[in-house]
Symmetry: C2
């Protein structure tokens, strides 16, 4: 198999990164994808940097052994903690995280430079978004807010209704009048975008990393001459690896991917 | 060290089992305890039985190597999935789970035999509570309900207020008029007992496994002549092991234990 025919590896702690896979597929319809969700050890967002780095390196090794041509770290927590370690270990491979593209989207959208980052505890603690935004737009005022319950709400499918509304109101009250742009800094959060938006006026913009990450991956592959030839014989597609619970992965994942997943297409692996 | 001087090992997926440790300490004030929270891989409640058994065996091995005299499986999910495997592997050791004591408490409390079990997805799927209750009280009508968001609410400390109330109302609506007794079948849920109780009339009883498990442990140690001599020289106490995040363990754990935990007293280990 020529290098450009190989799949793009996508790694996440679980199913949230399927929102990124969805955007990748839209931006790169000719490519094939190999998605790995570390469902046995999710969530990463409440864990220490040391542990997240260790888990991310193991997941990347597994994908690299399966001959990917690029690695997308779809998990914000893993991108924030482990991107330098992953890039160092797989120096020959394009390794792209979601933090820098998310920060870029926020800076482009923000009118007054008042940017709020909604993320997991671990991503907030590490400060990677705030640093990336400060590099791109030194005048920006960044506030970071950990919203761990949003992960559970998204997994439960309670993306609207009284519980989601009350949780959004409680988390977001401190941001009233303090932000012109919100970054959804966790791949679980886009499915809650409507409820989050309802806490603010229409002038507040909401961005996530998915579309800008897909654009960054496309650019990087083009620069390296690694884009798959759309005229190739075999149709592109996606395959899934999970470290636990193929059925749960398929059932919950469909909400994030926006497409059905057959449990039989989810291969269980050990990391 | 004589056998009875050894600590009692207590194992949980994270901090929820500290509600059981609290009850153990109250029932057995002369004993010392070694608590292990597998915080790097929590939660167990959304994971498959196979994975939960593997993790539970690893945690038990670690405690047994540290010379415990009995093992308490404080985690409902691990008790439901792994108790037979743990008892088989450590046949010389008293190994006590929380399901049987919880079922016993429910059967004793229930007036009409209408028992509802609130638990994690994994515990509900496995059906261990329903089987244990049916053995003790064949006439009982058991309904089991997975309430995964309660875990996140308890960890976040949102144990009262609009979010907890809305979540309890949504989960518990199907039980209206259907239960005279509720079992809190996850160690995270006792901190939400007030909000849960408010969804029912005062005639509905709420029980958890903590007190009955502590009584079962006391009985088992007495039967085997393993109770610690209260007149011994060194005062009893507790020590903590965690697989990730000593500071988070101490901060969140205090809510469940009902006592302060110093992060310096939490030893980080690898499983």
């Amino acid at each position: 198999m020529s290098l450009s025919e190989r799949p793009i590896g996508v790694f996440d702690s679980g199913v949230g990164g399927l929102t990124v896979l969805r955007a990748l597929r839209a931006a790169l319809p000719a490519e094939s994808f190999l998605y790995l969700g570390d469902t046995a050890r999710l969530p990463y967002g409440t864990k220490s940097e040391h542990t997240v780095v260790r888990y991310a390196l193991q997941a990347a090794d597994e994908l690299v052994e399966r001959d990917i041509k690029a690695l997308v770290v779809a998990c914000n927590t893993a991108s924030a903690a482990a991107l330098p370690a992953l890039q160092q270990r797989h120096a020959g491979l394009p390794v792209i995280g979601v933090i820098e593209p998310g920060a870029r989207a926020a800076c482009a959208a923000s009118t007054r430079g008042q940017i709020a980052v909604l993320a997991t505890e671990s991503t907030v603690r590490g400060g990677a978004y705030a640093r990336a935004i400060a590099r791109l737009r030194p005048d920006a005022r960044v506030r970071s807010l950990a919203c761990p319950l949003f992960v559970a709400l998204a997994e439960e499918g309670w993306t609207e209704g009284a519980v989601a509304e009350a949780a959004a109101a409680r988390y977001l009250a401190p941001l009233a009048g303090q932000a012109d742009t919100l970054v959804l800094g966790c791949t679980h959060f886009p499915v809650l975008a409507t409820v989050i938006a309802a806490c603010f006026g229409p002038e507040v913009r909401i961005v996530d990393s998915a579309a800008t990450t897909a654009a960054a991956v496309r650019r990087e592959l083009a620069d390296r001459g690694l884009l798959r030839d759309a005229g190739g014989a075999s149709p592109a597609g996606w395959r899934f690896l999970a470290t636990d619970g193929a059925e749960r992965f398929a059932a919950v994942g469909a909400r994030f991917l926006g497409a059905l997943i057959a449990a039989a297409n989810v291969e269980l692996i050990d990391l």
